[in-house]
């Protein structure tokens, strides 16, 4: 089959699914809707596999397939066509998107079986896959932006899926608008790229890059990178635009798994990795990215420790993990960032789906304080969740370990990295271990605190299969990127497949520092020890009912209140940005529009009517007066004529 046809089909399947389910959105037949939706994405997945196989078949170094579907915008020397590029980066992405996507679709069939509008749900989900594919496959920034906005739109629609709840609708709106702020910056970045390079195609940009890096903040490439990064903070929920992601948990749980953990939120990472060549030329922006990433990772982790809503914890954990990825790209570790993106997609999707399974079993109960001891009711869920837990806290040989470890190593050793950032990253890893263990402990272990009228039960097969598959992936997914340090000692010398695969398009920063293999081993074991310690502590605290946590939070006082309330960031935004803006707008309307501009025009009209009122008396209907005016006028004219002559 030709590439064009394959690409078209790749897009057409989800689109058809969207249209099919969208037109019959009122139908309550969740099975039909679910099967069609899942099949659409599944078909896309198959095509992705075929495409990737084709890509692998190509010669190394020339692995890219470009397909031009149709001309889109061609004005003057600006051209952005609907053309697509499949290269190693987008190959990884489309496999994740369609693969994890179809698992989540499958899971959704069971999850949405009691919902009123399953067709609508699946149509949105398919539309999301379509847009996400656009995002990762676009061969220029504008097509990427189309997908970028499109996934934002789907996210808006899906967060506000249960729109009768005003809060959920508001969460959707918040997500869209926050994303829009990022998008606006993205657009500026795009314009800057266009003015600098005269093109927005990735391949042309790469070939036009200058040889030397810029220093300072005013360079054109630096500015372009900066604005694109701001765009990425919106989509990938980084400081200061992360606020929408925790609220986004208002959507159905599989949505959180797909959009707000596995795929959409990683678009920012994808963007920066895609433009890694350009970012390497802007070291200041790289530093900023690393700092922002580290801070986001840290603060989100602290918030996660105090949350009690199972989904909120996972949400903050996602923000934190995304922070990791930004830290990675910030220090020049692009391949580890992609690696972590992939492993994170597996284990976080797994955990979200697991939490969905739990919530489903608990009849929409999300508070972990009302759970506990679910292990015996839901063994499969528990087991897969356990795998996810081990993966995220980074226990070898599960997926998370390899990616996280590599990020920390690069942070430590990269010339763009620093020890401080490494410390922050390590602490975050410890905190991650802590809050994840807390989540496990409170949910699955210990005594049951489930209320009497709720009878937890294991989820149906359609929901457990995705869990199992993702569990397997979370376990073995890391093995494609085993660092040299370890593979060196392994039998058969398993190479770092991922790095090798991405090498033609993305290159990590060269490690030039004095760090040695011994340092790497030390660092790795140190973090391992800390993580295990933290997990153990958390287990002791929460599974074994301890009073220490409450004592600690009391001891910390205001700090812990601040953390529990998410540092009052939402409140700050509301009171310092949004409300003043609304008040100011009201002021503009009432004082400028109604009271100033209109008043001024009234003044003009008052002047006119005033004049009329004055002159009106001349015309009082007295005919003799009129005759007088006539004669006086006549006389005046006559006088003028006669006097003049």
């Amino acid at each position: 089959m030709s590439n064009t046809l394959l690409f078209s089909l790749l897009f057409i399947f989800p689109l058809l699914g969207f249209l099919f389910n969208g037109i019959r959105f009122k139908s309550k037949n969740y099975k039909l809707a679910g099967i069609v939706g899942t099949a659409a994405v599944g078909a896309s997945f198959l095509i992705s596999v075929i495409l990737v196989a084709k890509l692998i078949g190509l010669e190394e170094g020339a692995r890219s397939i470009t397909v031009h579907l149709f001309d889109w915008i061609n004005i003057g020397d600006f051209s952005a066509n609907a053309s697509f590029l499949l290269d190693p980066i987008s190959a990884v992405m489309i496999l994740i998107i369609t693969g994890v996507g179809s698992l989540i679709h499958l899971f959704s069939i069971g999850y949405m079986s009691h919902d009123e509008r399953p067709s609508k749900y699946f149509s949105f989900l398919n539309l999301f896959i379509f847009n996400m594919l656009l995002l990762v496959l676009g061969d220029n920034l504008l097509v990427l932006f189309v997908g970028w906005e499109g996934v934002g739109l789907c996210s808006y629609l899906l967060i506000g899926f249960w729109f009768t709840d005003q809060q959920k609708a508001a969460a959707g709106m918040k997500a869209f608008i926050t994303n829009r702020i990022g998008d606006a910056a993205f657009l500026i970045g795009l314009f800057l790229v266009f003015t600098n390079f005269g093109t927005i195609e990735f391949s042309s940009i790469t070939s036009l890059l200058p040889a030397t890096a810029e220093s300072g903040w005013s360079g054109p490439i630096t500015l372009a990178c900066l604005f694109l990064f701001i765009g990425a903070t919106g989509k990938s929920a980084q400081i200061p635009l992360y606020v929408w992601l925790p609220d986004a948990m208002a959507g159905p749980t599989p949505v959180s798994a797909l959009i707000h953990a596995a795929t959409m939120v990683t678009a920012g990472i994808y963007l920066i990795v895609r433009l890694s060549g350009m970012y390497m030329l802007a070291p200041d922006v790289m530093m900023l990215i690393a700092i922002i990433g580290a801070l986001t990772a840290f603060f989100a982790a602290t918030i996660a420790i105090t949350q009690n809503d199972i989904k909120k914890i996972l949400a903050y954990s996602t923000v934190s993990q995304l922070g990791y990825m930004f830290l990675a790209v910030g220090v020049g570790a692009f391949v580890p960032a992609m690696f972590h993106l992939m492993t994170h997609a597996f284990f976080k999707a797994l955990m979200f789906l697991g939490s969905g399974s739990v919530i489903h079993a608990m009849h929409e109960e999300q508070d972990i304080r009302k759970m506990g001891g679910l292990k015996k009711y839901m063994p499969i869920t528990h087991f897969t969740f356990l795998l996810g837990w081990l993966a995220i806290i980074g226990i070898p040989p599960l997926a998370g370990f390899f990616s996280k470890d590599e990020i920390l190593w690069y942070t430590f050793a990269s010339p763009a990295g620093s020890k401080v950032l490494w410390v922050i990253g390590a602490i975050t890893a410890v905190m991650t271990a802590f809050y994840m263990t807390r989540l496990m402990a409170l949910t699955f272990w210990g005594e049951s605190r489930v209320s009497k009228d709720v009878h937890p039960h294991e989820s149906p097969v359609s929901m457990t299969i995705p869990l199992i598959v993702l569990g397997v992936l979370s376990t073995i997914g890391g093995w494609i990127g085993i660092p040299h340090l370890i593979s060196h000692y392994l039998p058969g010398h398993i190479p770092n497949v991922l790095e090798h695969w991405l090498e033609p398009v993305v290159k990590n920063i060269e490690l030039t520092g004095p760090a040695t293999m011994a340092d790497e081993i030390v660092i790795m074991s140190l973090t391992m020890a800390l993580i295990i310690g933290a997990a153990w502590t958390a287990y002791m605290f929460y599974a074994r009912k301890s009073s220490i946590p409450s004592k600690v939070s009391k001891a910390l006082g205001p700090l812990s209140t601040a953390v529990e309330n998410k540092y009052f960031v939402d409140e700050f935004y509301n009171s310092k940005l949004i409300n003043p803006l609304i008040e100011a707008s009201k002021g503009l309307w009432l004082y400028i529009d109604v009271n100033f501009i209109d008043k001024v025009t009234y003044l003009a009209s008052d002047f006119a009517t005033g004049c009329g009122r004055g002159i009106k008396h001349l015309q009082n209907g007295n005919i003799q007066r009129y005759a007088m005016y006539m004669s006086v006028g006549l006389i005046l004219i006559l006088s003028l004529i006669l006097m003049g002559s």
Partner: protein, 108 residues
Amino acid sequence: MLNFESLAAIGLNHYLIVSAALFCIGMVGVLVRRNVLVILMSIELMLNAVNLSFVAFSHFSQNINGQVMVFFVMTIAAAEAGVGLAIAVTIFKRFKEVNISFFEQLKG
């Protein structure tokens, strides 16, 4: 400055000045009187003033066309008096008085 000879020999000027005076008197009447009938009379005066100057011109230029015009003016004057008086009668029927100010009722 006053030329008594010109006073003695009656020329066109004399008639014209009389005509002008008559016209002005009529005009004053139109402007200041309230009674519609008197106003109509004043209009007749003005028309007569015009006639006078026509006749005078005709006489002094030995041109009969002026008198033709006077003839026409008289006809029009008669017609105007007829209509004016008819309107006055209507007004009188309504208000029992023929004050010009009642014509204010005509305003929009």
